[in-house]
Symmetry: C2
Subunit: 342 residues, 2 copies
């Protein structure tokens, strides 16, 4: 395609591999890990597509990743960013169906924080025209994770616990839970978010710095008997919550927002109460879930965004060229996602 | 039956419920928790039997229990002790088949550290005549646990890790593992036990105070890829072992010999490596395993004791009347089980 440039602007990683640290997703200065770069335009191989970026979302997993604290190694000089949406402007063999389409994507070939991105065709979801770029750019990682995790919760009963409930993912899980007739119990950091969470679908909302939290949670746990704890924080308070849950409770960690290493104070509960501690990772879920089930989940996710049941709150639109200097500041706003634009 | 006395000697608990402490199974002075008592002879109800004790074994779970640190509450004034063997001298309705038989038992109605014990008929296993009282008195708790847990290990691959491997249960699991063609990796506290463990069936033996343990275990883990860790200790070293195990490893805690509360230093492994932490409790296993499978396991256990493949090492025979004064001292010998005799 002759209208494509030979090079592109990208925000690239300045480190290889893992850092060995575990400091959580907070960043003070993105230039510790990221740098601007002008790179040759990547070329789609067989089964791949080249996407011109419309918008990339910033997820906590992106921050873990650039800091070298994620489950996959960094590649120095490669663009950062896992998720976005854009237009397919070139295709490799076997990806003809996506030609010219606007798609949501997870970046598998090169990072999303770049003017152009190469990824596998099966990591793309064509977007309905009634879905905005903002919703399209946050279509996969959070919504699919929410769907899959609430499904786990539902398999064990009707009540479940969600930490960091004001995150985009937390809000999705609360509203999805209510829609499915379940009872989400939300943990939040700030008292001023309680009403909004209830409005959104949480059956109960607890503030993590409330000194009475343990007693309050114990009472709720006794009544509602939540069996699944969908936890993005994974700190000592998480362990306390888990310890107060009933027989056969499952602590499902899907994130590590806290750098604290939780102590297991009630090991005997694993033995005598049949409790267990495990993790959730969307990539693993996608690898182990039949395509038909995934397609069903994708269609359901998209329908929810299209009819307005779900939407992505955006705090800031941050131009690609300002990411290195401005990302840390942009992330201080906690009322929505940072969206990167070309 | 007219030859039965009206009262019996028993070692009874002096506390109710749970202690709230978590100090492990060590005891300095049994009189903190136990006292001698003369009690009315218990009477077997429907489905129960009255057993004249031949021998009761002392398991770590007994010590956790009397200290109020086990998963079940104590009853003040009731005899302590979970397991033993003896002769059925009276029966309730429905238990006729056991009349006059020598049986191994788990005490469900009253404790085993008494001249007479009442328990459910289904908690009794008639003993073959070629099995000694010593083997009979330690027939259920450890051997059944070993069988059930090695079965879990086998379901995940051929190598598995066993902590506290010089315990009776640890030794059973190592020998059973070898018999089944598996590769037990044993953790022991004392270097002088290494050869004996290898002899018994361990494929690899590591000493827990060896400063090179982490590197040695990492190398073994890389080669043998153990997926299951059968752990009686549940301390920080256990967590380190678990962290060095491969993808999809399961940390199965069945005891808490250490009072240390392990920190989870690698929470991300639960997420990205599909690892999980869980418990094992024989009672739960017996409740959730079909009777036919349990009978098969019982027969296999008994065959192993009868033909000498398994045996119970005994360190001390301790008369019932000396338990309160002498138990702490008797437990200092680590070369076998303490057996209580009437």
């Amino acid at each position: 395609m002759t209208d494509l440039p030979g090079t592109m602007f990208a925000v690239v990683q300045t480190h290889d591999g893992f850092s060995g640290t575990a400091t959580g997703p907070g960043i003070d200065n993105a230039s510790e890990w990221l740098a601007p770069a002008e790179l040759p335009l990547p070329e789609p191989g067989p089964g791949q597509v080249l996407i011109r970026l419309r918008m990339a979302s910033v997820n906590p997993s992106d921050l873990h990743f650039i800091k070298g604290e994620y489950g996959q190694p960094r590649v120095k000089g490669a663009p950062a960013g896992f998720e976005g949406c854009g237009d397919v402007v070139a295709i490799g063999s076997g990806a003809e169906a996506l030609k010219g389409q606007r798609v949501a994507f997870v970046a598998s070939g090169s990072g999303a924080w770049a003017e152009y991105v190469v990824t596998q065709a099966q990591m793309c979801i064509p977007l309905r025209p009634d879905i905005s770029d903002e919703n399209g750019a946050a279509q996969i990682v959070n919504p699919m994770t929410a769907m899959a995790m609430v499904d786990i919760a539902r398999s064990e009963g009707d009540a479940f616990v969600v930490s960091a409930a004001t995150s985009q993912l937390g809000k999705l899980m609360c509203s999805l839970g209510r829609d499915l007739g379940l009872k989400p119990i939300a943990l939040v950091r700030r008292a001023e978010t309680v009403d909004a969470l209830r409005e959104l679908g949480a059956d109960e909302v607890l503030v993590t710095n409330d000194p009475d939290l343990p007693e309050k949670f114990a009472a709720i746990s006794k009544t509602l008997k939540p069996r699944v704890f969908l936890d993005a924080v994974s700190d000592q308070l998480s362990e306390q919550i888990f310890a107060a849950m009933p027989n056969k409770a499952r602590w499902v960690s899907y994130g590590k927002l806290s750098a604290e290493q939780p102590r297991l104070t009630q090991m005997g509960q694993l033995i005598f109460m049949g409790k267990r501690i495990e993790g959730f990772w969307l990539t693993q879920w996608m690898m182990s879930t039949p395509p038909a089930d995934q397609i069903r989940v994708v269609a359901e996710v998209q329908a929810r965004f299209a009819d307005g049941r779900w939407k992505t709150d955006v705090s800031t639109h941050l131009p690609l060229r300002d990411v290195v200097s401005g990302l840390a500041e942009a992330l201080k706003k906690t009322d929505g996602k940072v969206m990167i634009t070309p």
